[in-house]
């Protein structure tokens, strides 16, 4: 909790709350009057308080020309109340509403009976110019804060002259006594002895810190209700920076890995697809090349086919005769050979008719003869057996010549 008064004297108190509701004052600091500017004083106090990363930092300032008032308004939800005040405030603030920033908090809501539908709202408005000046001073100090408010927003009861109260040593002394509990029972604070020996002015400033701190810790008031306006992001504390940076780094790493994976997947898919398309084109080109070749040689190929189909005759009669002379059993002889194209009628004679047909049937296994059949046989008077054979030769147009 850091507070500065009208004279820009900065006071700081480090307060913690234990589970049983007792608040402990850990450390206090007051600015060195030798430091000329507010920013320097803020840094001085901030450093001396040794505020940890998990501490909530509340700044309370005495804004020049701040207006604080309480209004009785119908009970409304918070956001509805803001809209209502937006409409109502110009009638209560003597400056144009655009030139001020303001906040409010509901102080009390009506109970049962008359006034049950009413609620008391405390409004604080500060000139925008003053707010900007204060913000720039704080920004210059480099201090980060969660809340920036005016101490009057933390007072439970709004006195007739709150500014006077905040500077009044005696009134603050009374308030200090009630908090320390030295008079009647245990108070709300422990460790107040650290401020007992301080001068009255410092005591007063520190007491304001304690009052605001106590209010925030005890009432569980959200910063939204106390904050005069949203603080710039650059002024907000960056907590758990290491964890956040680690998470960000991890996120970036995951993003990079995912990106790499996606890129790799895309690259592989493109590569594979490209290869398939290239192979398709190559295959199509090859098929086309063959088709072109067939087209180019169409006339020749048709001629060859026509020659094959035209059946000009058998050029290999000599081979047929050679085959017959080689394969015919030695006890047989040919008396007549008659060929018509690739078909041949051969008259074979033999004196030994016992195995004649079996011997001849061996000729049918010759690959050059696609058909070999004995048509008829005739027994002559001299005992000669004449066999009429029909052969079909199949090596037509496959003449193998040397030279």
């Amino acid at each position: 909790m850091i507070y500065w008064d009208r004279g820009m004297n900065v006071f700081g108190a480090s307060i913690t709350s234990s589970g049983d509701g007792v608040l402990s004052l850990l450390k206090v600091a007051c600015s060195d009057p030798g430091i000329p500017d507010l920013a320097g004083r803020l840094v001085n106090v901030f450093n001396r308080l040794e505020i940890g990363e998990n501490h909530k930092i509340v700044l309370a300032a005495r804004f020049d020309g701040a207006i604080c008032m309480e209004l009785e308004l119908p009970k409304l939800p918070h956001h509805e109340m803001r809209k209502a005040l937006d409409f109502e405030l110009p009638r209560h603030i003597p400056v144009p509403i655009d030139e001020v920033i303001w906040t409010f908090r509901t102080v009390s809501e009506g109970g049962a009976g008359k006034g049950a539908a009413q609620s008391k709202v405390r409004i604080l408005s500060v000139s925008r110019k003053v707010w900007d000046t204060t913000i720039s001073s704080v920004a210059a100090s480099g201090i980060k804060a969660d809340v920036m408010t005016h101490p009057v927003m933390a007072l439970r009861n709004l006195p007739s002259d709150p500014e006077e109260l905040l500077d009044n040593h005696d009134e603050m002394g009374k308030a200090l006594s009630s908090l320390s509990g030295s008079d009647a029972g245990p108070g709300k604070f422990a460790g107040l002895d650290v401020i007992s020996g301080l001068p009255d002015e410092q005591k007063t400033g520190l007491l304001v810190c304690l009052l605001v701190g106590e209010f925030i810790l005890q009432e569980n008031v959200s910063s939204e209700n106390l904050n005069l306006s949203h603080l710039p992001d650059s002024m907000r504390p960056q907590r758990f920076r290491a964890i956040r940076y680690s998470a960000a780094a991890l996120f970036m790493l995951v993003l990079v890995l995912a990106g790499t994976l996606i890129f790799r997947s895309w690259l592989d898919a493109r590569d594979r697809y490209g290869k398939i398309i290239a192979e398709k084109q190559r295959t199509l080109a090859k098929i086309d090349e063959f088709k072109q070749e067939r087209l180019r040689n169409k006339k020749t190929d048709e001629l060859v086919k026509k020659i094959r189909d035209s059946n000009p005759g058998n050029p290999e009669v000599i081979l047929c005769l050679q085959l017959l002379s080689q394969k015919l059993p030695s006890n047989m002889w040919i008396t007549m050979f008659n060929s018509r194209d690739n078909e041949m009628d051969v008259t074979i004679c033999t004196m030994k008719d016992k195995d004649a047909q079996a011997d001849l049937s061996k000729l049918s296994s010759l690959p050059n003869f696609s058909s070999f059949s004995i048509r008829s046989t005739r027994r002559d008077g001299d005992g000669t057996l004449t066999i009429f054979v029909h052969i079909v030769y199949q090596d037509k147009l496959k003449r193998q010549k040397n030279g």
């Binding site: 067939r294 035209s310 000009p312 003449r399």
Partner: protein
């Protein structure tokens, strides 16, 4: 949420611009989805392409088999260019073919008793058959030699009909050969050119 709402209200133009960009992006995505899919082909696209490619490979295999067969036939045909009578190369077939056969018979020592009745049979514009009848009476050795020499000679002589029989069934020394010899004559200019070039 309030802060987001406030921020959005404060930056109305930026939000509107962002919305326009997002809408444009979605429109482009919808309109050019196919092109985007081409840029990033998925498993389905690749599977379809692979199936198409497999079909093409089958077509190619079939085409290769067919073309190889045709090539072999064509090459064999071209290689055996001398088997065919080409008028531009070999002269007029009607006046030359009988002399060619007689030359072969003379070389073989066979005396042809009869040769003639040459007739040209036109198969189509490119192919004609020249048929010649021959008749000879000699020993089996001479006839065999003639047939063998005829086989070796160019052009290729096809036997349309060939009869070999003894002149006298009781005397096998004298054998009669009678037959019809066929020669293929190619008259087409293109084919003649191919075969002539190959022969050279």
């Amino acid at each position: 949420m309030d802060r987001i709402g406030t921020s959005m209200r404060a930056n109305g133009k930026v939000v509107a611009g962002l919305l326009a960009v997002v809408l444009l992006f979605i429109t482009v995505l919808v309109l050019y989805w196919k092109d985007i899919m081409y840029l990033w082909p998925g498993h389905d696209t690749i599977a379809i392409e692979i199936t198409t490619l497999e079909g093409l490979h089958k077509d190619l295999d079939k085409e290769i088999r067919e073309i190889q067969k045709i090539r072999q036939t064509r090459e064999a045909f071209i290689r055996q260019g001398r088997d065919f009578w080409i008028s531009k190369r070999d002269g007029d077939i009607e006046s030359s073919i009988i002399k060619k056969i007689e030359d072969v018979a003379r070389t073989s020592g066979l005396k042809l008793q009869n040769i003639g009745n040459a007739r040209l049979i036109k198969v189509n514009d490119d192919i004609s058959f020249m048929e010649v009848n021959i008749e000879a009476k000699s020993t089996m050795e001479e006839i065999s030699k003639f047939i063998a020499d005829l086989y070796k000679a160019n052009p290729c002589y096809y036997w349309r009909r060939c009869t070999i029989r003894p002149f006298n069934p009781r005397d096998v020394k004298e054998i009669v050969l009678s037959g019809t010899i066929n020669v293929i004559s190619l008259t087409g200019d293109g084919v003649a050119k191919i075969l002539s070039e190959e022969a050279r």
